[in-house]
Symmetry: C2
Subunit: 209 residues, 2 copies
Amino acid sequence: MTSPGSIDDFLEQLASAAPTPGGGSAAAIMGAMGAALVSMVCSVTIGKKGQEQAAAEMLAVRADSEILRARLTAMVDEDIAAFESLMAAYKLPKAGDDDQVRRSAAIQAALRRATEVPLECARACAAVIALAARATAQGYRGVISDAGSGVVAAHAALRSAALNVYINAPALKDTEFARRSVAEIEALAASSAADSEAVYSFVRRRVEE
Amino acid sequence: MTSPGSIDDFLEQLASAAPTPGGGSAAAIMGAMGAALVSMVCSVTIGKKGQEQAAAEMLAVRADSEILRARLTAMVDEDIAAFESLMAAYKLPKAGDDDQVRRSAAIQAALRRATEVPLECARACAAVIALAARATAQGYRGVISDAGSGVVAAHAALRSAALNVYINAPALKDTEFARRSVAEIEALAASSAADSEAVYSFVRRRVEE
């Protein structure tokens, strides 16, 4: 598929038996929604009467969240390309010795990419959560719940991406890269859980005050 | 806005200072993605060689997940309509006594709707998580990670919707309805956390075997 098209088409293709898009692409869109919700808190706060003291910080946060939104949106296609390369590699001929060497090298290269793409998605989502913390600290109270939605979206995106690291890393022959990748995604998942929970709790307290 | 249009347009409007779409609409789309990912696991498993014993269960699960996907997709607009009604009610004239009575009644009706819509979104997301558990129990191992992505999406959607219940319920004059709504969303959030975690852990163990 070419993406991102309409939301209905994306959901239709996601629900189908077609191998792409799958959880990795859904992760990228959820991460992009998280970034967009952080941008929304900044966009509303900037220029709001009585919120002048927050404007510089909100402009800085939004500049970064908009870069992350663009990056995560692009990852929808990168995830699809990585998955399709991997499927294509597995389908390469394996009759002769040369074929087998070529096929194995192609599979390893594709597995590496299919591990790197979700890792990069997870790093971007962790950055979104850090920005959400800043947006809620100084953002206009009337919209900070959107940053609360943003952190749960980004955390879900990170955990969804993590599954693709868990799937692909064990098949890598470069075991040192595999080990480092799993360690990094575990660390990101743990810190993201704590950081997103802190933002969500802060938002909940503020909206119920 | 009219929704759901293209993913890019939705993200652009989400990031803007426009009051809609916000976290409630993002929640509906995340929930719909969760339902679609459950459908995908079923769609792949149905008709897969060697998975014949699971076909009847997968058809039953997919019938329900597709209904939930349609329901959650429709909630994008319902969330926008509920929020816009609430804003319109707050803008009604309040000069005379009659105006005040009318305005107060309109605000209360809109607040009730703005509490019911996210509650219904949360109920649908909890149902998606229950279906994901069934899809992973019998689904084809090669795609069950998509159900793992589905549960984190549905759980994030439920928690995002919950924020709108926490925001709107305290302003309701029908305190019994408000109390029941908060109690229900708390119960849904707690069971969804446990149920989605069980599915995610199961998926992780299976993909790393």
